[in-house]
Amino acid sequence: MTSRTLPLFATIAIFLIAYLVCYLQFPAMLSTRVIGNLLTDNAYLGIVAVGMTVVILSGGIDLSVGSVIAFSGVFIAVMLRDTGLHPLVVFALLLAVTTAFGAFMGGLIHVLAMPPFIVTLAGMFLARGAGYMLSVESVPIQHPFYEVLKDAYYLMPGKGRLTLLGVAMLLSVAGGMILAHRTRFGTRVFAMGGGAQTAQLMGVPVGLTTVQIYAFSGFMAGLSGVAFSIYTASGYPLAMVGTELNAIAAVVIGGTILTGGAGYVFGTLIGVLTMGLIQTYIVFDGSLSSWWTKIVIGALLLMFILLQKGLLRLGTARAAA
Protein backbone atom coordinates (compact mmCIF):
# COMPACT_ATOMS: atom_id res chain seq x y z
CA MET A 1 0.00 0.00 0.00
CA THR A 2 1.65 3.22 -1.09
CA SER A 3 0.84 6.69 0.17
CA ARG A 4 -1.07 7.19 -3.02
CA THR A 5 -3.53 4.36 -2.57
CA LEU A 6 -4.04 5.03 1.11
CA PRO A 7 -7.11 7.29 0.73
CA LEU A 8 -8.71 4.67 -1.50
CA PHE A 9 -8.27 1.89 1.03
CA ALA A 10 -9.41 4.16 3.82
CA THR A 11 -12.57 4.88 1.85
CA ILE A 12 -13.27 1.23 1.17
CA ALA A 13 -12.64 0.27 4.78
CA ILE A 14 -14.98 2.94 6.09
CA PHE A 15 -17.69 1.91 3.64
CA LEU A 16 -17.49 -1.71 4.68
CA ILE A 17 -17.56 -0.85 8.37
CA ALA A 18 -20.53 1.45 7.82
CA TYR A 19 -22.35 -1.29 5.95
CA LEU A 20 -21.66 -3.68 8.78
CA VAL A 21 -23.06 -1.22 11.30
CA CYS A 22 -26.19 -0.78 9.20
CA TYR A 23 -26.57 -4.54 8.85
CA LEU A 24 -26.32 -5.11 12.58
CA GLN A 25 -29.14 -2.66 13.11
CA PHE A 26 -31.31 -3.68 10.17
CA PRO A 27 -30.52 -7.18 8.94
CA ALA A 28 -32.62 -6.52 5.83
CA MET A 29 -29.85 -4.18 4.69
CA LEU A 30 -27.83 -7.13 3.45
CA SER A 31 -30.56 -8.43 1.13
CA THR A 32 -29.92 -8.50 -2.59
CA ARG A 33 -32.86 -6.16 -2.90
CA VAL A 34 -31.04 -3.43 -1.03
CA ILE A 35 -27.82 -4.08 -2.87
CA GLY A 36 -29.63 -4.01 -6.20
CA ASN A 37 -31.41 -0.82 -5.18
CA LEU A 38 -28.13 0.75 -4.12
CA LEU A 39 -26.78 0.23 -7.62
CA THR A 40 -29.93 1.20 -9.50
CA ASP A 41 -30.96 4.16 -7.41
CA ASN A 42 -27.53 5.72 -7.61
CA ALA A 43 -26.81 4.89 -11.22
CA TYR A 44 -27.37 8.41 -12.48
CA LEU A 45 -25.19 9.80 -9.70
CA GLY A 46 -22.45 7.25 -10.30
CA ILE A 47 -22.31 7.95 -14.00
CA VAL A 48 -22.14 11.69 -13.62
CA ALA A 49 -19.66 11.37 -10.77
CA VAL A 50 -17.24 9.59 -13.06
CA GLY A 51 -17.20 12.66 -15.27
CA MET A 52 -16.90 14.86 -12.22
CA THR A 53 -13.95 12.83 -10.98
CA VAL A 54 -12.05 13.47 -14.16
CA VAL A 55 -12.85 17.18 -13.95
CA ILE A 56 -11.78 17.39 -10.33
CA LEU A 57 -8.63 15.38 -11.00
CA SER A 58 -7.68 18.07 -13.49
CA GLY A 59 -8.12 20.69 -10.80
CA GLY A 60 -11.44 21.94 -12.14
CA ILE A 61 -15.05 21.66 -11.14
CA ASP A 62 -18.28 21.32 -13.09
CA LEU A 63 -21.35 22.81 -11.47
CA SER A 64 -23.50 22.45 -14.54
CA VAL A 65 -24.06 18.70 -14.43
CA GLY A 66 -27.28 18.67 -12.42
CA SER A 67 -28.89 21.10 -14.82
CA VAL A 68 -27.55 19.21 -17.80
CA ILE A 69 -29.13 15.99 -16.53
CA ALA A 70 -32.45 17.78 -16.10
CA PHE A 71 -32.11 19.30 -19.55
CA SER A 72 -31.34 15.87 -20.98
CA GLY A 73 -34.50 14.40 -19.52
CA VAL A 74 -36.63 17.16 -20.96
CA PHE A 75 -34.84 17.00 -24.29
CA ILE A 76 -35.40 13.27 -24.64
CA ALA A 77 -39.01 13.46 -23.52
CA VAL A 78 -39.85 16.34 -25.83
CA MET A 79 -38.08 14.79 -28.79
CA LEU A 80 -39.86 11.48 -28.28
CA ARG A 81 -43.15 13.26 -27.93
CA ASP A 82 -42.82 15.61 -30.87
CA THR A 83 -40.77 13.66 -33.40
CA GLY A 84 -40.95 10.10 -34.58
CA LEU A 85 -37.29 9.44 -33.89
CA HIS A 86 -36.19 6.24 -32.26
CA PRO A 87 -34.90 6.71 -28.71
CA LEU A 88 -31.43 5.56 -29.73
CA VAL A 89 -31.26 8.33 -32.30
CA VAL A 90 -32.46 10.80 -29.71
CA PHE A 91 -29.79 9.56 -27.27
CA ALA A 92 -27.12 10.10 -29.88
CA LEU A 93 -28.40 13.61 -30.58
CA LEU A 94 -28.55 14.40 -26.91
CA LEU A 95 -25.04 13.16 -26.22
CA ALA A 96 -23.80 15.27 -29.10
CA VAL A 97 -25.52 18.31 -27.59
CA THR A 98 -24.28 17.83 -24.04
CA THR A 99 -20.77 16.97 -25.18
CA ALA A 100 -20.69 20.09 -27.29
CA PHE A 101 -22.00 22.08 -24.36
CA GLY A 102 -19.23 20.74 -22.13
CA ALA A 103 -16.66 21.45 -24.79
CA PHE A 104 -17.98 24.98 -25.10
CA MET A 105 -17.56 25.56 -21.39
CA GLY A 106 -14.09 24.06 -21.50
CA GLY A 107 -13.26 26.39 -24.35
CA LEU A 108 -14.51 29.39 -22.41
CA ILE A 109 -12.52 28.36 -19.36
CA HIS A 110 -9.36 28.17 -21.38
CA VAL A 111 -9.81 31.14 -23.67
CA LEU A 112 -11.11 33.50 -21.00
CA ALA A 113 -8.78 32.15 -18.31
CA MET A 114 -11.82 32.22 -16.04
CA PRO A 115 -12.15 29.86 -13.12
CA PRO A 116 -14.22 26.76 -13.94
CA PHE A 117 -16.39 27.37 -10.89
CA ILE A 118 -17.83 30.49 -12.43
CA VAL A 119 -18.04 29.42 -16.03
CA THR A 120 -19.86 26.23 -15.10
CA LEU A 121 -22.08 28.17 -12.72
CA ALA A 122 -23.23 30.22 -15.69
CA GLY A 123 -23.53 26.93 -17.57
CA MET A 124 -25.73 25.62 -14.79
CA PHE A 125 -28.14 28.54 -15.17
CA LEU A 126 -28.03 28.20 -18.93
CA ALA A 127 -28.76 24.47 -19.06
CA ARG A 128 -31.67 24.71 -16.65
CA GLY A 129 -32.99 27.73 -18.49
CA ALA A 130 -32.77 25.78 -21.73
CA GLY A 131 -34.73 22.98 -20.08
CA TYR A 132 -37.47 25.43 -19.15
CA MET A 133 -37.60 26.74 -22.68
CA LEU A 134 -38.21 23.22 -24.00
CA SER A 135 -40.99 22.53 -21.55
CA VAL A 136 -42.08 23.99 -18.28
CA GLU A 137 -44.06 20.94 -17.30
CA SER A 138 -42.80 17.48 -16.69
CA VAL A 139 -43.21 15.39 -19.80
CA PRO A 140 -43.87 11.65 -19.56
CA ILE A 141 -42.06 9.29 -21.87
CA GLN A 142 -44.19 6.59 -23.41
CA HIS A 143 -42.24 4.54 -25.84
CA PRO A 144 -42.13 0.78 -26.20
CA PHE A 145 -38.35 0.89 -26.26
CA TYR A 146 -38.37 2.40 -22.78
CA GLU A 147 -40.43 -0.53 -21.56
CA VAL A 148 -37.76 -2.82 -22.93
CA LEU A 149 -35.00 -0.88 -21.19
CA LYS A 150 -36.92 -0.77 -17.94
CA ASP A 151 -37.60 -4.47 -17.90
CA ALA A 152 -34.05 -5.42 -18.71
CA TYR A 153 -32.88 -6.71 -15.37
CA TYR A 154 -31.46 -9.84 -13.89
CA LEU A 155 -33.42 -11.12 -10.93
CA MET A 156 -30.89 -12.06 -8.29
CA PRO A 157 -31.73 -14.65 -5.67
CA GLY A 158 -33.71 -12.90 -2.97
CA LYS A 159 -35.68 -10.83 -5.47
CA GLY A 160 -33.00 -8.19 -5.84
CA ARG A 161 -32.79 -6.72 -9.31
CA LEU A 162 -29.56 -6.08 -11.10
CA THR A 163 -30.89 -3.55 -13.57
CA LEU A 164 -29.54 -2.23 -16.79
CA LEU A 165 -28.92 1.08 -15.05
CA GLY A 166 -26.84 -0.52 -12.32
CA VAL A 167 -24.77 -2.35 -14.89
CA ALA A 168 -24.42 0.84 -16.93
CA MET A 169 -23.02 2.60 -13.89
CA LEU A 170 -20.52 -0.15 -13.19
CA LEU A 171 -19.45 -0.07 -16.84
CA SER A 172 -19.08 3.72 -16.70
CA VAL A 173 -16.87 3.41 -13.67
CA ALA A 174 -14.77 0.77 -15.40
CA GLY A 175 -14.51 2.98 -18.46
CA GLY A 176 -13.61 5.96 -16.32
CA MET A 177 -10.94 3.95 -14.55
CA ILE A 178 -9.33 3.01 -17.83
CA LEU A 179 -9.56 6.54 -19.16
CA ALA A 180 -8.14 8.19 -16.07
CA HIS A 181 -5.51 5.70 -15.04
CA ARG A 182 -4.52 3.89 -18.19
CA THR A 183 -4.40 6.38 -21.04
CA ARG A 184 -2.23 9.29 -22.05
CA PHE A 185 -5.25 11.50 -21.77
CA GLY A 186 -5.59 10.43 -18.14
CA THR A 187 -1.99 11.31 -17.43
CA ARG A 188 -2.57 14.72 -18.96
CA VAL A 189 -5.55 15.16 -16.66
CA PHE A 190 -3.47 14.33 -13.62
CA ALA A 191 -0.74 16.61 -14.93
CA MET A 192 -3.13 19.55 -15.14
CA GLY A 193 -4.25 18.81 -11.63
CA GLY A 194 -0.65 18.85 -10.48
CA GLY A 195 -0.18 22.37 -11.78
CA ALA A 196 -1.41 23.95 -14.98
CA GLN A 197 1.73 26.02 -15.57
CA THR A 198 4.04 23.10 -15.05
CA ALA A 199 1.86 20.91 -17.21
CA GLN A 200 2.12 23.49 -19.93
CA LEU A 201 5.91 23.58 -19.68
CA MET A 202 5.96 19.78 -19.90
CA GLY A 203 4.11 19.98 -23.15
CA VAL A 204 0.49 19.36 -22.26
CA PRO A 205 -1.75 20.99 -24.83
CA VAL A 206 -3.65 22.73 -22.05
CA GLY A 207 -6.39 24.24 -24.18
CA LEU A 208 -7.25 21.05 -26.00
CA THR A 209 -7.13 19.01 -22.81
CA THR A 210 -9.41 21.43 -20.98
CA VAL A 211 -11.93 21.22 -23.78
CA GLN A 212 -11.72 17.43 -23.76
CA ILE A 213 -12.15 17.22 -20.00
CA TYR A 214 -15.30 19.31 -19.90
CA ALA A 215 -16.60 17.66 -23.03
CA PHE A 216 -16.18 14.33 -21.26
CA SER A 217 -18.01 15.65 -18.25
CA GLY A 218 -20.78 16.93 -20.51
CA PHE A 219 -20.93 13.54 -22.18
CA MET A 220 -21.20 11.74 -18.86
CA ALA A 221 -23.86 14.20 -17.72
CA GLY A 222 -25.77 13.45 -20.91
CA LEU A 223 -25.38 9.74 -20.28
CA SER A 224 -26.55 10.22 -16.75
CA GLY A 225 -29.49 12.14 -18.18
CA VAL A 226 -30.34 9.13 -20.33
CA ALA A 227 -30.11 6.91 -17.27
CA PHE A 228 -32.27 9.29 -15.30
CA SER A 229 -34.86 9.41 -18.05
CA ILE A 230 -35.02 5.63 -17.99
CA TYR A 231 -35.20 5.67 -14.22
CA THR A 232 -38.15 8.07 -14.10
CA ALA A 233 -39.54 7.62 -17.61
CA SER A 234 -40.06 11.36 -17.86
CA GLY A 235 -38.35 14.66 -18.30
CA TYR A 236 -38.69 17.43 -15.76
CA PRO A 237 -36.85 20.74 -15.91
CA LEU A 238 -36.88 21.12 -12.14
CA ALA A 239 -35.26 17.77 -11.51
CA MET A 240 -31.80 17.26 -10.10
CA VAL A 241 -31.35 20.60 -8.40
CA GLY A 242 -28.15 20.38 -6.40
CA THR A 243 -27.00 17.07 -7.87
CA GLU A 244 -23.66 18.64 -8.72
CA LEU A 245 -23.00 19.08 -5.01
CA ASN A 246 -23.87 15.44 -4.33
CA ALA A 247 -21.55 14.39 -7.11
CA ILE A 248 -18.76 16.53 -5.70
CA ALA A 249 -19.35 15.12 -2.24
CA ALA A 250 -19.23 11.58 -3.61
CA VAL A 251 -15.98 12.29 -5.39
CA VAL A 252 -14.45 13.77 -2.27
CA ILE A 253 -15.64 10.95 -0.03
CA GLY A 254 -14.09 8.68 -2.62
CA GLY A 255 -10.72 10.11 -1.72
CA THR A 256 -10.07 12.44 -4.63
CA ILE A 257 -8.44 15.70 -3.66
CA LEU A 258 -10.53 18.70 -4.68
CA THR A 259 -7.49 20.68 -5.75
CA GLY A 260 -6.78 18.02 -8.30
CA GLY A 261 -3.98 15.72 -9.22
CA ALA A 262 -4.69 12.80 -6.93
CA GLY A 263 -7.50 10.32 -6.69
CA TYR A 264 -9.16 7.22 -8.04
CA VAL A 265 -12.25 6.74 -10.15
CA PHE A 266 -12.98 3.56 -8.23
CA GLY A 267 -13.01 5.58 -5.04
CA THR A 268 -15.79 7.65 -6.54
CA LEU A 269 -17.91 4.52 -6.92
CA ILE A 270 -17.41 3.85 -3.23
CA GLY A 271 -18.26 7.47 -2.51
CA VAL A 272 -21.50 7.17 -4.45
CA LEU A 273 -22.42 3.95 -2.69
CA THR A 274 -21.61 5.56 0.64
CA MET A 275 -23.99 8.43 -0.10
CA GLY A 276 -26.59 5.87 -1.13
CA LEU A 277 -25.99 3.96 2.07
CA ILE A 278 -26.60 7.06 4.14
CA GLN A 279 -29.88 7.62 2.31
CA THR A 280 -30.97 4.03 2.74
CA TYR A 281 -30.06 4.01 6.39
CA ILE A 282 -32.14 7.10 7.03
CA VAL A 283 -35.14 5.63 5.23
CA PHE A 284 -34.81 2.32 7.08
CA ASP A 285 -34.72 4.21 10.32
CA GLY A 286 -37.69 6.31 9.27
CA SER A 287 -37.99 8.27 12.48
CA LEU A 288 -36.15 11.42 11.50
CA SER A 289 -38.09 14.59 10.87
CA SER A 290 -37.32 16.64 7.79
CA TRP A 291 -34.87 18.83 9.60
CA TRP A 292 -33.13 16.07 11.46
CA THR A 293 -32.69 14.31 8.15
CA LYS A 294 -30.64 17.23 6.90
CA ILE A 295 -28.64 17.48 10.08
CA VAL A 296 -27.91 13.77 10.16
CA ILE A 297 -26.84 13.71 6.51
CA GLY A 298 -24.45 16.57 7.25
CA ALA A 299 -23.17 14.87 10.36
CA LEU A 300 -22.59 11.55 8.61
CA LEU A 301 -20.81 13.35 5.79
CA LEU A 302 -18.57 15.01 8.32
CA MET A 303 -17.96 11.74 10.10
CA PHE A 304 -16.86 10.03 6.90
CA ILE A 305 -14.51 12.84 6.01
CA LEU A 306 -13.00 13.03 9.48
CA LEU A 307 -12.60 9.26 9.68
CA GLN A 308 -10.86 9.33 6.36
CA LYS A 309 -8.56 12.14 7.52
CA GLY A 310 -7.83 10.20 10.68
CA LEU A 311 -7.02 6.98 8.85
CA LEU A 312 -4.81 8.90 6.45
CA ARG A 313 -2.91 10.54 9.23
CA LEU A 314 -2.48 7.22 10.96
CA GLY A 315 -1.27 5.68 7.72
CA THR A 316 1.27 8.35 6.94
CA ALA A 317 2.52 8.34 10.51
CA ARG A 318 3.09 4.60 10.27
CA ALA A 319 4.78 4.99 6.91
CA ALA A 320 7.10 7.63 8.33
CA ALA A 321 8.02 5.57 11.36
Binding site: N37, E137, S138, T232, L238, A239, Q279, V283, G286, L288
Partner: protein
Amino acid sequence: QTVGFSQIGSESGWRAAETTLTRQQAEERGIDLKFSDAQQRQENQISAMRSFIAQGVDAILLAPVVATGWDSVLEEAQEAEIPVVLLDRQVDSSEDLYLTAVGSDLVHEGEVAGQWLVDNVGDEECRVVELQGTTGSSPAIKRKQGFENAIEGSDNIEIVRSQTGDFTRTGGKEVMESFLQAEDGGGNICALFAHNDDMAIGAIQAMKEAGVNPGEDVKVVSIDGVPDIFRAMADGDANATVELTPNMAGPAFDALNAYWEDGTTPPKFIQTESRLYTQEDDPEAEYEARKDLGY
Protein backbone atom coordinates in the same frame (compact mmCIF):
# COMPACT_ATOMS: atom_id res chain seq x y z
CA GLN B 1 -49.05 -1.96 10.98
CA THR B 2 -46.05 -0.19 9.46
CA VAL B 3 -46.58 2.49 6.86
CA GLY B 4 -43.87 4.26 4.93
CA PHE B 5 -44.43 7.90 4.08
CA SER B 6 -42.38 9.51 1.38
CA GLN B 7 -42.78 13.25 1.78
CA ILE B 8 -41.53 15.75 -0.80
CA GLY B 9 -39.66 17.89 1.64
CA SER B 10 -40.26 20.75 3.98
CA GLU B 11 -40.30 23.65 1.59
CA SER B 12 -43.29 25.42 3.10
CA GLY B 13 -45.31 25.74 6.24
CA TRP B 14 -48.18 23.96 4.57
CA ARG B 15 -46.04 20.92 3.97
CA ALA B 16 -44.77 20.95 7.52
CA ALA B 17 -48.39 20.93 8.64
CA GLU B 18 -49.16 18.00 6.38
CA THR B 19 -46.26 16.08 7.91
CA THR B 20 -47.35 16.91 11.44
CA LEU B 21 -50.92 15.86 10.75
CA THR B 22 -49.83 12.64 9.10
CA ARG B 23 -47.77 11.76 12.16
CA GLN B 24 -50.69 12.64 14.43
CA GLN B 25 -53.14 10.59 12.46
CA ALA B 26 -50.80 7.61 12.41
CA GLU B 27 -50.31 7.84 16.14
CA GLU B 28 -54.02 8.02 16.80
CA ARG B 29 -54.51 4.82 14.84
CA GLY B 30 -51.53 3.06 16.36
CA ILE B 31 -49.72 2.87 13.05
CA ASP B 32 -45.93 2.81 12.99
CA LEU B 33 -44.99 5.55 10.52
CA LYS B 34 -41.67 5.43 8.70
CA PHE B 35 -41.03 8.93 7.48
CA SER B 36 -38.69 9.92 4.70
CA ASP B 37 -37.99 13.45 3.57
CA ALA B 38 -36.94 13.58 -0.09
CA GLN B 39 -35.68 17.16 -0.09
CA GLN B 40 -37.61 18.06 -3.23
CA ARG B 41 -36.02 15.30 -5.27
CA GLN B 42 -37.93 12.65 -7.13
CA GLU B 43 -34.97 10.32 -7.23
CA ASN B 44 -34.86 10.35 -3.44
CA GLN B 45 -38.54 9.53 -3.34
CA ILE B 46 -38.11 6.62 -5.69
CA SER B 47 -35.21 5.20 -3.74
CA ALA B 48 -37.08 5.73 -0.48
CA MET B 49 -40.03 3.77 -1.85
CA ARG B 50 -37.72 0.98 -2.90
CA SER B 51 -36.22 0.91 0.56
CA PHE B 52 -39.72 0.70 2.02
CA ILE B 53 -40.42 -2.22 -0.27
CA ALA B 54 -37.16 -3.91 0.69
CA GLN B 55 -38.08 -3.40 4.31
CA GLY B 56 -41.50 -4.95 3.74
CA VAL B 57 -43.81 -2.22 5.02
CA ASP B 58 -47.57 -2.76 4.92
CA ALA B 59 -48.42 0.31 2.92
CA ILE B 60 -46.80 3.37 1.42
CA LEU B 61 -48.01 6.95 1.43
CA LEU B 62 -46.50 8.99 -1.36
CA ALA B 63 -46.73 12.73 -1.83
CA PRO B 64 -45.21 12.85 -5.32
CA VAL B 65 -43.02 15.81 -6.16
CA VAL B 66 -43.92 15.54 -9.81
CA ALA B 67 -46.62 13.72 -11.76
CA THR B 68 -44.49 11.70 -14.14
CA GLY B 69 -42.08 8.86 -13.76
CA TRP B 70 -43.60 6.60 -11.15
CA ASP B 71 -44.58 3.59 -13.22
CA SER B 72 -41.74 1.26 -12.49
CA VAL B 73 -41.52 1.83 -8.78
CA LEU B 74 -45.30 1.53 -8.45
CA GLU B 75 -45.10 -1.74 -10.34
CA GLU B 76 -42.47 -2.95 -7.92
CA ALA B 77 -44.71 -2.10 -5.03
CA GLN B 78 -47.55 -3.93 -6.65
CA GLU B 79 -45.44 -7.01 -7.18
CA ALA B 80 -44.56 -6.90 -3.51
CA GLU B 81 -48.27 -6.49 -2.77
CA ILE B 82 -47.85 -3.23 -0.93
CA PRO B 83 -50.72 -0.78 -1.44
CA VAL B 84 -49.71 2.77 -2.30
CA VAL B 85 -51.80 5.81 -1.49
CA LEU B 86 -51.00 9.12 -3.15
CA LEU B 87 -51.29 12.27 -1.10
CA ASP B 88 -52.23 15.75 -2.31
CA ARG B 89 -50.69 15.52 -5.76
CA GLN B 90 -51.51 13.20 -8.63
CA VAL B 91 -49.39 10.98 -10.82
CA ASP B 92 -49.99 10.19 -14.46
CA SER B 93 -49.50 6.45 -14.09
CA SER B 94 -52.21 3.92 -14.65
CA GLU B 95 -54.83 3.82 -11.92
CA ASP B 96 -54.24 0.12 -11.33
CA LEU B 97 -50.87 0.83 -9.86
CA TYR B 98 -52.06 2.56 -6.71
CA LEU B 99 -54.83 2.02 -4.23
CA THR B 100 -56.20 5.51 -4.18
CA ALA B 101 -55.23 9.15 -4.29
CA VAL B 102 -56.26 11.66 -1.67
CA GLY B 103 -56.04 15.26 -2.68
CA SER B 104 -57.62 18.28 -4.08
CA ASP B 105 -57.99 19.21 -7.67
CA LEU B 106 -55.37 21.87 -8.36
CA VAL B 107 -57.17 23.19 -11.42
CA HIS B 108 -60.35 23.41 -9.43
CA GLU B 109 -58.59 25.46 -6.76
CA GLY B 110 -57.53 27.97 -9.37
CA GLU B 111 -61.06 28.04 -10.72
CA VAL B 112 -62.54 28.73 -7.30
CA ALA B 113 -60.15 31.63 -6.82
CA GLY B 114 -60.86 32.97 -10.28
CA GLN B 115 -64.57 32.59 -9.85
CA TRP B 116 -64.44 34.58 -6.66
CA LEU B 117 -62.75 37.41 -8.52
CA VAL B 118 -65.24 37.26 -11.36
CA ASP B 119 -68.08 37.46 -8.86
CA ASN B 120 -66.56 40.37 -7.02
CA VAL B 121 -65.39 42.80 -9.65
CA GLY B 122 -68.64 42.95 -11.56
CA ASP B 123 -68.26 44.80 -14.84
CA GLU B 124 -65.36 46.98 -13.86
CA GLU B 125 -62.18 46.95 -15.85
CA CYS B 126 -59.80 44.76 -13.77
CA ARG B 127 -56.08 44.42 -14.33
CA VAL B 128 -54.79 41.42 -12.43
CA VAL B 129 -51.21 40.63 -11.46
CA GLU B 130 -50.30 37.04 -10.83
CA LEU B 131 -47.66 35.58 -8.53
CA GLN B 132 -46.81 32.15 -9.84
CA GLY B 133 -45.40 29.30 -7.89
CA THR B 134 -42.08 27.73 -8.74
CA THR B 135 -41.76 27.58 -12.49
CA GLY B 136 -42.50 24.08 -13.66
CA SER B 137 -44.16 22.79 -10.51
CA SER B 138 -47.55 21.27 -11.05
CA PRO B 139 -49.45 23.53 -8.59
CA ALA B 140 -48.11 26.54 -10.43
CA ILE B 141 -49.16 25.22 -13.79
CA LYS B 142 -52.56 23.87 -12.74
CA ARG B 143 -53.61 26.75 -10.53
CA LYS B 144 -52.73 29.19 -13.27
CA GLN B 145 -54.72 27.13 -15.72
CA GLY B 146 -57.76 26.97 -13.41
CA PHE B 147 -57.68 30.69 -12.76
CA GLU B 148 -57.48 31.42 -16.46
CA ASN B 149 -60.40 29.07 -17.10
CA ALA B 150 -62.52 30.96 -14.62
CA ILE B 151 -61.83 34.43 -15.97
CA GLU B 152 -62.02 33.38 -19.57
CA GLY B 153 -65.55 34.57 -20.07
CA SER B 154 -65.01 37.96 -18.51
CA ASP B 155 -63.41 40.34 -20.96
CA ASN B 156 -63.04 42.99 -18.32
CA ILE B 157 -60.57 40.87 -16.32
CA GLU B 158 -57.08 40.58 -17.71
CA ILE B 159 -53.80 39.25 -16.32
CA VAL B 160 -51.30 42.00 -17.06
CA ARG B 161 -48.23 40.74 -15.27
CA SER B 162 -47.25 37.29 -14.21
CA GLN B 163 -43.97 36.28 -12.63
CA THR B 164 -42.71 33.55 -10.40
CA GLY B 165 -42.33 34.22 -6.70
CA ASP B 166 -41.14 30.68 -6.01
CA PHE B 167 -43.90 30.07 -3.48
CA THR B 168 -41.97 32.12 -0.90
CA ARG B 169 -42.77 35.26 1.06
CA THR B 170 -39.56 36.96 0.01
CA GLY B 171 -40.24 36.09 -3.59
CA GLY B 172 -43.79 37.37 -3.35
CA LYS B 173 -42.66 40.59 -1.80
CA GLU B 174 -39.84 41.22 -4.24
CA VAL B 175 -41.90 40.49 -7.32
CA MET B 176 -44.80 42.54 -6.03
CA GLU B 177 -42.50 45.49 -5.50
CA SER B 178 -41.45 45.38 -9.12
CA PHE B 179 -45.08 44.97 -10.21
CA LEU B 180 -45.92 48.10 -8.27
CA GLN B 181 -43.04 49.95 -9.90
CA ALA B 182 -44.08 48.79 -13.31
CA GLU B 183 -47.78 49.49 -12.84
CA ASP B 184 -47.69 53.10 -11.80
CA GLY B 185 -47.12 52.56 -8.12
CA GLY B 186 -50.00 50.13 -7.96
CA GLY B 187 -52.58 52.53 -9.30
CA ASN B 188 -53.17 50.32 -12.31
CA ILE B 189 -53.63 47.10 -10.42
CA CYS B 190 -57.08 45.97 -9.38
CA ALA B 191 -56.37 42.51 -8.04
CA LEU B 192 -53.65 40.11 -7.09
CA PHE B 193 -53.85 36.38 -7.59
CA ALA B 194 -51.14 34.45 -5.76
CA HIS B 195 -50.56 30.73 -6.23
CA ASN B 196 -50.10 30.35 -2.52
CA ASP B 197 -50.77 32.30 0.64
CA ASP B 198 -47.14 32.88 1.55
CA MET B 199 -46.52 34.87 -1.58
CA ALA B 200 -49.72 36.77 -1.00
CA ILE B 201 -48.57 37.70 2.50
CA GLY B 202 -45.23 38.93 1.13
CA ALA B 203 -47.06 40.92 -1.51
CA ILE B 204 -49.38 42.45 1.09
CA GLN B 205 -46.35 43.75 2.93
CA ALA B 206 -44.92 45.18 -0.26
CA MET B 207 -48.20 46.99 -0.95
CA LYS B 208 -48.42 48.39 2.54
CA GLU B 209 -44.89 49.69 2.34
CA ALA B 210 -45.62 51.32 -1.01
CA GLY B 211 -48.68 53.03 0.43
CA VAL B 212 -51.15 50.86 -1.40
CA ASN B 213 -54.02 49.49 0.63
CA PRO B 214 -54.25 45.73 0.12
CA GLY B 215 -57.74 44.34 0.38
CA GLU B 216 -59.26 47.59 -0.82
CA ASP B 217 -57.14 49.21 -3.54
CA VAL B 218 -55.98 45.82 -4.65
CA LYS B 219 -58.04 42.73 -4.05
CA VAL B 220 -56.01 39.79 -2.86
CA VAL B 221 -56.98 36.20 -3.53
CA SER B 222 -54.76 33.22 -2.96
CA ILE B 223 -54.76 29.49 -2.25
CA ASP B 224 -53.85 27.18 0.66
CA GLY B 225 -55.52 28.61 3.75
CA VAL B 226 -52.54 28.88 6.05
CA PRO B 227 -53.11 30.56 9.43
CA ASP B 228 -51.35 33.81 8.56
CA ILE B 229 -53.64 34.53 5.64
CA PHE B 230 -56.64 34.31 7.95
CA ARG B 231 -55.06 36.88 10.15
CA ALA B 232 -54.48 39.07 7.13
CA MET B 233 -58.14 38.63 6.24
CA ALA B 234 -59.12 39.53 9.74
CA ASP B 235 -57.06 42.70 9.35
CA GLY B 236 -58.78 43.38 6.06
CA ASP B 237 -55.55 42.99 4.06
CA ALA B 238 -56.54 39.87 2.16
CA ASN B 239 -59.88 39.09 0.61
CA ALA B 240 -60.13 35.42 -0.08
CA THR B 241 -58.30 32.15 0.10
CA VAL B 242 -59.07 28.67 -1.14
CA GLU B 243 -58.31 26.10 1.48
CA LEU B 244 -56.16 23.12 0.75
CA THR B 245 -56.40 20.93 3.80
CA PRO B 246 -53.15 19.49 5.08
CA ASN B 247 -55.01 16.55 6.55
CA MET B 248 -54.63 14.20 3.64
CA ALA B 249 -53.46 11.35 5.80
CA GLY B 250 -56.72 10.93 7.70
CA PRO B 251 -58.77 9.82 4.69
CA ALA B 252 -55.80 7.86 3.46
CA PHE B 253 -55.48 5.85 6.66
CA ASP B 254 -59.22 5.30 6.71
CA ALA B 255 -59.08 3.88 3.23
CA LEU B 256 -56.12 1.72 4.15
CA ASN B 257 -57.77 0.38 7.26
CA ALA B 258 -60.82 -0.63 5.29
CA TYR B 259 -58.61 -2.27 2.71
CA TRP B 260 -56.61 -4.21 5.30
CA GLU B 261 -59.74 -5.35 7.10
CA ASP B 262 -61.79 -6.74 4.30
CA GLY B 263 -60.11 -5.75 1.08
CA THR B 264 -62.53 -2.95 0.29
CA THR B 265 -61.11 -0.98 -2.57
CA PRO B 266 -61.74 2.72 -2.16
CA PRO B 267 -62.57 5.00 -5.11
CA LYS B 268 -59.50 5.97 -7.09
CA PHE B 269 -59.69 9.62 -6.10
CA ILE B 270 -60.78 10.91 -2.73
CA GLN B 271 -61.13 14.60 -3.29
CA THR B 272 -60.79 16.92 -0.35
CA GLU B 273 -62.87 20.02 -0.29
CA SER B 274 -61.48 23.19 -1.85
CA ARG B 275 -63.38 25.58 0.30
CA LEU B 276 -63.37 29.28 -0.29
CA TYR B 277 -62.92 31.52 2.74
CA THR B 278 -63.56 35.23 2.64
CA GLN B 279 -63.54 38.02 5.18
CA GLU B 280 -67.12 37.10 6.06
CA ASP B 281 -66.12 33.66 7.33
CA ASP B 282 -64.85 34.77 10.72
CA PRO B 283 -61.17 34.60 9.84
CA GLU B 284 -60.15 35.24 13.44
CA ALA B 285 -61.67 31.93 14.53
CA GLU B 286 -60.19 30.10 11.56
CA TYR B 287 -56.79 31.46 12.52
CA GLU B 288 -57.13 30.24 16.07
CA ALA B 289 -58.20 26.84 14.87
CA ARG B 290 -55.20 26.39 12.67
CA LYS B 291 -52.35 28.09 14.39
CA ASP B 292 -51.16 25.01 16.28
CA LEU B 293 -51.32 22.54 13.45
CA GLY B 294 -47.66 22.89 12.63
CA TYR B 295 -48.00 25.29 9.71
